[in-house]
Symmetry: T
Subunit: 68 residues, 12 copies
C-alpha cells in the first residue's frame, strides 16, 4: 500500500447471508469506482417479513486508490 | 415507518453460520411477538469444542411496531 | 466456567464467508493452544481483487483456560 | 433512586423534531408500563421522502422501577 | 449453550458495592424470569448524598433461555 | 429495501435547533443526489458567539439507492 | 483557531427540547467562563413524570480559549 | 433534577476494591465542590506490585449543581 | 515508565466480587509473566445459577515490561 | 461556519510520521475538492517490512463547504 | 500512584505535528495546574487552509494529583 | 493476505513523538516475532515531568502470519 486512498460507504443487500450482501456491495461499487482494494464491515442489519429474515443488509467501507 | 416501535434483544445459535443463527433468533422471536420488522446485529460470539466452532451465537436487536 | 482464562486475538481468512474465516481462525489456534472454549468477533474486513471479494478476514478473540 | 429498575428500548417517531419523537416514545411506553422515571437517547435516525425529512426517529432506553 | 436466548436490562442498587448492586439486580430478575444464566455489566453509576456515595447503581444485561 | 445503497456524510447548520440543522443537510443533499431515503445522526456540535449558541451543527449519514 | 483551549462538561436542562437544554448549558457556562467558542453534545437523557417527559438533559463539552 | 450541572473527572485509588476507590474519589471531590449529586464510572485500572494488585484506580465523572 | 511493554488479556473469576476476580487474574498471570506493572479492566460479566450470581468474571489487560 | 458541508474519508500514507501521512491525505484531496476546511483523524495504522515501520497510514475525514 | 487525581481536558494546537500540539497543551496546562503527571489523547483534528494543513489540534486529558 | 494471523499488543515509548514510539514498539516486537506485517494504533498516552511531556506512549496491535 502506498499513495492516497479514499473510502466510500456502500450498503449491500441479500436474501441469503451477510457474506453475500457484502459481495453485492463490493461488486456494485466496482462498476463505478476503479482500484477497489479492501473493505471494512461497519454495520449489519436486516429486514423481517412474515416473521422471517427477508433481507440481510451489510454496510461496508470500501477503500480504493486515487489515480492521476 | 410511523407510530411507535419497541426493540428486544435476542440471541440465536447455530452450528452452521452467523446468518443461520440470525434467522433462528428472528424466527423464535416471531412466535411470541407480532409485527417484527427489522433487526440490528449487536454482537457475534460462539462456542468452541474439541478445537472447532461448535456454535455461532448472534445477538440481534429486533424492532416491532406496538399495536393497540 | 471457573478458574482463569486467557484471550488471544487471531485473524482467519477465507474465500467463502465470514463464518468460514472464523472456523479457520479457531482451528489454527487449536493447533498450538489447548482448552480453547469460546470466541468473540472483534472485526470483519476483507480484500478485493478485480472488483470482487477475494478474501473475508475475521478477527476473533479466543478464550481458553490456563492449566497448571 | 433505590430498589431495582428495568430498562426497555422504544423508538418514537415524529414529523416535527427529535424532541417530539422522544415525547411520543415516552408517552406510548407509559400506557403499558408503570413508574417510568428516566430515559437515555440511544440513537437518532429518520426517513426521507421527496428530498425532505419525512420522519424523525429516536430510540430511547426507558427506566422504570420494578414493583411488587 | 444451545437454543434461543433473550437479554433484558436491569439496574440493581446497593449502599455497599458494585458487586452487591449486581447481585440485587440478578436476584430481583430471577423472581419473574426463569433460566437466567449469565450477565454483562453495561454501566456503573451512583448517587451522592452529603458528599458521600449513597448508592451504587449497576446496569446489567441478563441472558436467559427461551422455553416452550 | 432491496438493491444497493450508498451513504454520504453531510453537515447541516441552523440557528434554531438540531432538527432544523438536520433538515438543512437533507434538503441540500437532495439537490445533487437522487433517491435519498434515510439518515442517521452521527454527531451534534455547534458554535458559540457572545456566550450564546450561534449555530447548531448536525452531521448526518444519508443513504440513497444506487441507480443504473 | 490557534493557541490553547480547555473543554468543560456542562449539563443543561429544559422542559421544551434538546436544543433549548443545550442553550441553557451554554448560557450558564458563559456567566463564569470567557471566550466560549464551540460545543459538542456528549449525552442526551431526561426525566419522566406522570408518564410524560418532564425534563430534557443535554451534556455538552464546551471549548474556550485560555487567555493570559 | 433542574437547573444547570457541571461534571468533573476524578480518579480515586484504593488498596481494597473498585467500590472503595470510588468512595475515595467522591469524598475528596466533596471537600472542594458543593452539591455533588451523582457519579458515572468512566474507567477502571490499577497498579501491580510483586505480582499482586497494589492499587485499584477508578475514574469517575462527578455531577454537581451550579449555584448562584 | 520507559522501554517497551506488552499487554495480555486475562479473565479472572470469583464467587465474591469484581475486585476479587481482578486479583485472581493478576496473581495467575504473575506465575508465568515477570514484571507485570499495571492492568486495565476491559469487560465485566458473570454466570448465574439458581437465580443468583455464581461467578464474577473480569477481563483485564495486563501490561508488563519486555526484558532482554 | 455556516451553510452545508460534506465530509469525505481519505487515507494518506507516509514513510515518516502520522503528521506527514495526514498532510499527504489533505493535499491530495485538495486537488479535486474545493473549500476543504477541517479534518478529523478516524484511524491510524501502518505497514511493517523487515521488522520496521515501512508506512504510516492515517484515515482522515475531511470537511468542505458545498458551493452553488 | 496513590491519593486522588483530577483530569482536565485541554486542546493544544501546532503548525508542525500532533506530537508538538500535545506538548503545547501540556506546557500550557502546567502554567496553572501543579503536579501534572500523565496525559491521554482523546481526539485528533485540525484545520485546513488553501488545501494544506494549517493546524494540528490534539485534545488531551491531563491527570494531576490533588494536594492539600 | 492469506492464511492465519495473530495480533499482539505492544506499548512503545519515546521522548520524541508518537511516530517514534510506534517505531520502537514495532522494532522491539520484531526481535521475538517473525513475519510482522501490519499495526493498528489502539491508544496514545504519555507521562509528564516538570510540566513537560517526558514520554510518548503508543499502544499498537501488531499482526503477523502464523507459520508452520
Amino acid at each position: 500500500m502506498s499513495g492516497v486512498y479514499k473510502k466510500i460507504e456502500v450498503v449491500g443487500t441479500s436474501k441469503e447471508s451477510f457474506a453475500h450482501a457484502t459481495k453485492v456491495a463490493i461488486e456494485e461499487a466496482a462498476k463505478t469506482v476503479k482500484n477497489t482494494s479492501w473493505f471494512e464491515v461497519a454495520e449489519m442489519r436486516g429486514a423481517i417479513k412474515d416473521g422471517k429474515v427477508s433481507e440481510f443488509q451489510v454496510t461496508v467501507r470500501i477503500g480504493f486508490k486515487i489515480e492521476h
